[in-house]
């Protein structure tokens, strides 16, 4: 862990054209202060890798509405009509990936695996252009690993070595993305002294985290 940053300073790290993994599922477990700072700074041509694009006015939806997004790799855009409209208008390229495949591709990228062998997507449009690998006579799709320039995470508690814990359905993609971003920025709801998060409650070890957002209001 390098230290604690204000959201504006964290947003300044992110250049035009960067690829961002962003935690969250319909904006639950998404780093909203980080996203607000990004919207203010307005880097262009971002690639977003995330479960979904939320809805207008929430989470990743704010980046879409602000016109900062050139490409998304995601499993679902159904609740964000703006993403759909921009896709149809050719303003955003959308790669749709089955949700379980998406999280495994991110995990493979973060954990040094060459790809994912999954039965999901066989004999569907998802198979198009992909290698099919047979293992003991059964076919599997070879899905490639994903990494990104940045992973932007939302967490519940953090300590000052960067250890993170998560609450309930706000885990979702965050713990997996923590390994797959070259720079990892986490926005916790609380920061506690080192030693306060019990070792067994840590879901993301601090060694994976580069920056923490400073407490709200500081």
């Amino acid at each position: 862990m390098k230290g604690v940053l204000r959201p504006e300073a964290a947003a300044e790290l992110i250049p035009d054209g960067a690829s961002l993994m962003i935690g969250g599922f319909m904006a639950v477990g998404t780093p909203e202060r980080m996203i607000d700072a990004l919207v203010a700074r307005a880097p262009r041509g971002l690639t977003i890798i995330a479960n979904d694009t939320a809805m207008p006015g929430k989470g990743i939806g704010k980046l879409v509405s602000a016109g900062l997004v050139a490409r998304v790799v995601t499993s679902h855009i159904g609740l964000n009509p703006e993403t759909q409209a921009k896709m149809i208008a050719g303003e955003i390229a959308v790669e749709l990936v089955p949700q379980g495949t998406l999280v495994e591709r991110i995990r493979a990228g973060g954990m040094g695996l060459g790809g994912v062998l999954t039965p999901t997507g066989l004999s569907t449009e998802v198979e198009e252009g992909k290698q099919v690998v047979e293992v003991d006579g059964k076919p599997f799709l070879l899905e490639k690993p994903l990494t990104a320039d940045f992973a932007l995470l939302a967490a519940w508690q953090a300590d000052y070595v960067g250890n993170l814990s998560y609450l309930l359905t706000a885990h979702n993609f965050n713990p997996v993305m923590a390994l797959a971003g070259r720079t990892v920025i986490a926005e916790p709801e609380a920061i506690v002294p080192v030693g306060v998060i019990a070792p067994d409650a840590v879901k993301t070890p601090g060694v994976l985290v580069d920056h923490l957002l400073i407490r709200a209001g500081c």
């Binding site: 639950v28 679902h76 379980g100 999901t120 609450l167």
Partner: protein, 217 residues
């Protein structure tokens, strides 16, 4: 009883003691209302909770506890939080005993299409492809027809969700079991005849001698 309630009540009868069940957004989510608490069923939402409970009273909602549609839920005693990798590990690995999903089309091969209408609606497959591929039992809960068009068709014209044959289709008119030999008509909705169902179904149906009326939860 409206069509949705009828379907939900019939699907609820498929659920057995101690099962782990995933209910899709919309119609399938209604099924939970008709499953007795005494069965000890655990509902999973793919966004990361096992042991999903009812929506909490106003003012007691928590933004960290939602279902896959983003709606507020509660957690039953014995609930567990999981991340998305574990959630889909359970689904793909066959640990989910049952999934109930909505459908756009089911065809004579038992294939489901439910994620895309090319040129019209491209929401994305979300978790549907993994659910249909991996769940131990796949139940499609849908209206028999939409805008006068049968949704049970000889061959899906819409993009498929998976190569896997679904296990059961429950509509407002019928219960249909896809199998090697085609779509077998298993049950009629109350007051509906086999001829009514044949007339409303574009696909060929295999009709056994006895087609009893649905029993509802």
């Amino acid at each position: 009883m409206d069509a949705k309630e009828l379907i939900a009540r019939r699907v609820a009868r498929e659920i057995r003691t101690g099962m782990l069940v995933n209910l899709g957004i919309g119609l399938p989510s209604l099924v939970a209302n008709y499953v007795p608490a005494t069965l000890g069923v655990f509902f999973q939402a793919e966004n990361g909770v096992i042991g999903l409970g009812m929506r909490p009273p106003e003012g007691m909602e928590d933004p960290h506890l939602t279902d896959a549609g983003g709606g507020f839920v509660s957690a039953v005693p014995g609930a567990a939080s999981i991340d998305s990798a574990m959630s889909f590990g359970l689904i793909r690995g066959g640990h989910l005993d049952m999934t109930v999903l909505g459908g756009l089309q089911v065809d004579e091969a038992g294939h489901l299409a439910n994620w895309k209408v090319p040129g019209k609606m491209v929401p994305g497959m979300g978790g549907a492809m993994d659910l249909v591929t991996g769940a131990a039992r796949v139940i499609v809960a849908m209206q028999h027809a939409a805008r006068g068009q049968s949704k049970i068709v000889p061959r899906c014209s819409l993009p498929l969700t998976a190569r896997r044959r679904v296990d059961l289709v429950v509509t407002d008119l019928a219960v249909i079991e896809p199998g090697e030999g085609g779509l077998v008509l298993r049950e009629r909705a109350p007051g509906v005849t086999v001829d009514d169902i044949r007339a409303a179904t574009e696909a060929a149906l295999v009709v056994p001698d006895a087609v009893p009326e649905m029993e509802l939860a």
